[in-house]
Amino acid sequence: MSSTPVSPLHLAVALDGTGWHPASWREQVARPRDLFTAGYWADQVAEAERGLLDFVTFEDGLGLQSSHYGELDGRTDQVRGRLDAVLIAARIAPLTRHIGLVPTVIATHTEPFHISKAIATLDYVSTGRAGLRVQISARPHEAAHFGRRTLPPLDTYDSPVVSDLFDEAADYVEVVRRLWDSWEDDAEIRDVATGRFIDRDKLHYIDFEGRHFSVKGPSITPRPPQGQPLVTSLGHQTVPYRLIARQTDVGYVTPQDPDQARAIVAEIRAEQEAAGRAGELLHVFGDLVVFLDDDRAAAEDRRARLDALAGEPYTSDARVFAGTPAQLADLLQELAAEGLSGFRLRPAVTGHDLPAISRGLVPELQRRGAFRTAYEADTLRGLLGLPRPANRYAATAA
């Protein structure tokens, strides 16, 4: 046995409807009729916080869910419809104390100015627990909801169109980040003698000019508690890996095995170095879909039962795991050895697999010394070991 000390893992859970399996809503525990209520989301996040998880992400989209990426499928046998993820996160923030809240934002059709202040405000209402997960939309039918551009039908994921959307997303995150820094921390002075509420020399125009948009600044919202809320993104190949390396604090990746994990981490680290960020902490998390039960057969049976209800086997971009908490802990540690610092678990059935994570997997990892036994920081950056960054516009002492 190796005596190498175990390095603690970070754990996040990805919340999406009643779970990631398309038939998850048919399970007794699923509560599909509650999906459009605050209470449903409050209960899920409370369960994740009970498990001391670093954060939850909230999936989102600008169109109805579909079993095909590029178009609607017209199906009526799966969950359709969702609430805005940023607003769900904000609604839950006052009900939680420690867990990070990371909604998905779509860069393709929205305004970076709005999203910057929205996530800054999420950071205020959660006192330092906000982040975002940036995503593009290459779906022609979602572009038609906005009517400002036409996207061609999607043929391949590495087409020039998609690559361009990722470049736009990189600019978008750049604007969001600059706006967060557009107020220095001590800009509000309330100087009664001179009548000045702010020191305007500590507010900054960001003067961003890019191929897709220009944004002047400064933000209307002061610098949020964390300075820079967490930025995260999911990637499956070079173009999104580059976005992860250039602009994020946490990248989610989908290795099927330890070899792939090693290769992906190496590629991201190379891109990170090329982007001039070699010295910065950038987490790479593995994404996994999980079916968790007390024995592997039960988990596999459950998967088979759901597949039968769905009418087809469930496949995913991420590896699908079915087994016990101890077996999952083994897999996570095996993958972590290749350079992943944490995992974002996608519960197949939220009502079943989220409690299995918080009450089964977490104690198992704790027994192995591989997960926290109490929240050790007040902010999401703090939980992830990320320092509160200096403001890019603040004059540094000579």
């Binding site: 809503w25 048919r26 699923a30 599909p32 009729r33 459009f36 209520t37 605050a38 989209g61 600008l62 109805l64 009526t76 799966q78 969950v79 419809g81 969702r82 609430l83 805005d84 940023v86 607003l87 904000a90 609604r91 006052p94 009900l95 929205t110 305004e111 100015f113 709005h114 202040k117 405000t121 999420l122 205020y124 209402v125 006192t127 039918h141 038609a144 909801h145 906005f146 009517g147 400002r148 107020w183 509000e188 309330r190 001179t194 009548g195 000045r196 509420f197 702010i198 305007r200 507010l203 948009f213 220009s214 944004v215 002047k216 600044g217 400064p218 209307i220 919202t221 002061p222 209800l309």
Partner: protein, 457 residues
């Protein structure tokens, strides 16, 4: 035959980024920390107010080419803070000012429908439009739209969001776990809108919310704005809180309703109103004077004079006389991002009038600015203020008021504790909420309910 007593509607405007808000007072707290919003909202809910109101501005104001630093600067994102406030209140309506210019109908409809779900039917949208190139510099949708197209775009924007809200009827989600039918209708949310400003189609992805649509507020004062409100709004956030001008505005707007087939009770008139309360009327007057001096420092007085003069007046002494030089009547260039400036439509006449006032009263620049603006709407003991508010509402100067305290976040407390109980004793203000939604508080029918049903019940 005497008219039945009208019930008063009351709302709370979170103190804004102008000089009404006194940040220099030792009691003034944070304008950005969530705890201030919680305090303010919970006070309003304790007092059974109809709703909380948030204003919005999408570019920091500038004067003379520099960011304006004398007032509170900085505020949160409207949707995000309202969603968070839904977690710490149970009944209070949540009204957000959202610009129709720098947004898209699909996104705004998603956000309001989501807020309505997450608050259990308490959302309202104050629709504003401000197509100025200055604010536009913060947006990819930035740019200039001629004045006469602003309302046509705003109207089409609102109509488009209504089509999106109505694209779900409310009975589509079956979620039958046994049969596996989640949606009754594969075309749920289907919409097509082809117009001058928007050409969009697809399927909206937020099911129908508890209120059907958010309550719609309108704030513009022009003839077009009044027509827009009469045709499409549920309430007006007006600026006419004084008795006679309030009555004139009220009559004017309510009389426009008939041509749209609407009744007087389907559009509420709710002016913004400030207040100063004391144990006696004399004490309140004294407090009101003190607050006005806090609101208008010498530096603030010079800046306000610049709104009219449209010139750099920084060399003038605020304790001295008004400038002899006349206003620059060319296009405004001194102040940016401020709607107030457009109020002075004839600066030469205003300057003449102000010089005469200053001469007659021996006023300095600061005295003039204190005395011509910022007079509190209601000044007096709690008895006086309660009586006046009730008189104004019964005399159809308004249907209630949106109160703007000058202290964040505690400025509403004294009104909640001292004035509201008196209004409740007079039987003109609720002692408890009668329903869960903002439409319930405002007496507005659900969009799916025929208006006649509400009258008959």
């Amino acid at each position: 035959m005497s008219k039945p007593l009208k019930q008063i509607h009351l709302a709370a405007h979170f103190p804004g980024v102008n000089n009404t808000t006194v940040w220099s007072d030792p009691q003034a707290g944070s304008h950005i920390e969530f705890s201030s919003f919680v305090h303010f909202a919970q006070t309003a809910e304790r007092a059974k107010f109809d709703f909380l109101f948030l204003a919005e501005g999408l570019r920091l104001r500038e004067q003379g080419g520099k960011i304006y630093d004398l007032d509170v600067v900085g505020r949160p994102d409207t949707f995000t803070v309202l969603a968070a406030l839904a977690a710490v209140t149970d009944h209070l309506g949540l009204t957000g000012t959202i610009n129709s210019t720098f947004n898209e109908p699909y996104e705004v409809a998603r956000q309001f429908a989501s807020l309505d779900h997450l608050s259990g039917g308490r959302s309202a949208w104050n629709v504003v439009t401000s197509w100025d190139a200055f604010t536009g510099e913060n947006f990819r949708r930035g740019g200039f739209l001629p004045q006469d197209e602003r309302y046509s775009r705003a109207k089409e924007f609102l109509a488009t969001t209504q089509e999106l809200f109505d694209s779900w009827r409310g009975d589509e989600i079956v979620a039958d776990q046994a049969t596996g039918v989640f949606l009754r209708d594969a075309k749920a949310g289907a919409f097509v809108h082809q117009g001058q400003h928007f050409d969009i189609q697809g399927q909206f992805n937020v099911p129908r919310s508890p209120q059907g649509r958010p309550v719609i507020f309108q704030a513009g004062d022009s003839d077009e704005g009044r027509e827009f409100a009469a045709s499409s709004a549920d309430a007006i956030f007006s600026r006419y809180a004084a008795l006679e001008e309030g009555q004139a505005f009220y009559t004017d707007v309510k009389n426009r309703l008939a041509k749209y087939g609407r009744r007087h009770d389907q559009l509420l008139i709710l002016p913004a109103a400030s207040f100063a309360l004391g144990d006696t009327d004399a004490e309140a007057e004294e407090l009101a004077r003190e607050v006005r001096r806090q609101q208008v420092s010498g530096a603030t007085a010079i800046k306000h004079l610049e709104f009219v003069w449209n010139r750099d007046l920084s060399s003038y002494d605020p304790e001295g006389p008004l400038p002899d030089i006349d206003p620059d009547v060319s296009e405004n260039h001194i102040s940016k991002g401020r709607a107030q400036v457009r109020m002075y439509r004839d600066p030469l006449a205003t300057a003449r009038e102000w010089r005469e006032l200053a001469a007659a009263n021996n006023w300095s620049i600061r005295d003039l600015v204190i005395n011509t603006g910022n007079r509190q709407t209601f000044v007096g003991s709690p008895q006086t203020v309660a009586k006046t508010i009730n008189e104004y509402v019964q005399a159809d100067a308004s249907d209630g008021f949106i109160l703007v305290p000058h202290i964040t976040p505690g400025g509403l407390d004294v009104f909640a504790d001292k004035v509201v109980p008196l209004l409740q004793e007079q039987g003109v203000f609720r002692t408890d909420y009668e329903g869960p939604t903002l439409r319930d508080h405002l007496g507005l029918a659900h969009p799916d309910e025929a208006p006649e049903q509400r009258v008959a019940s």
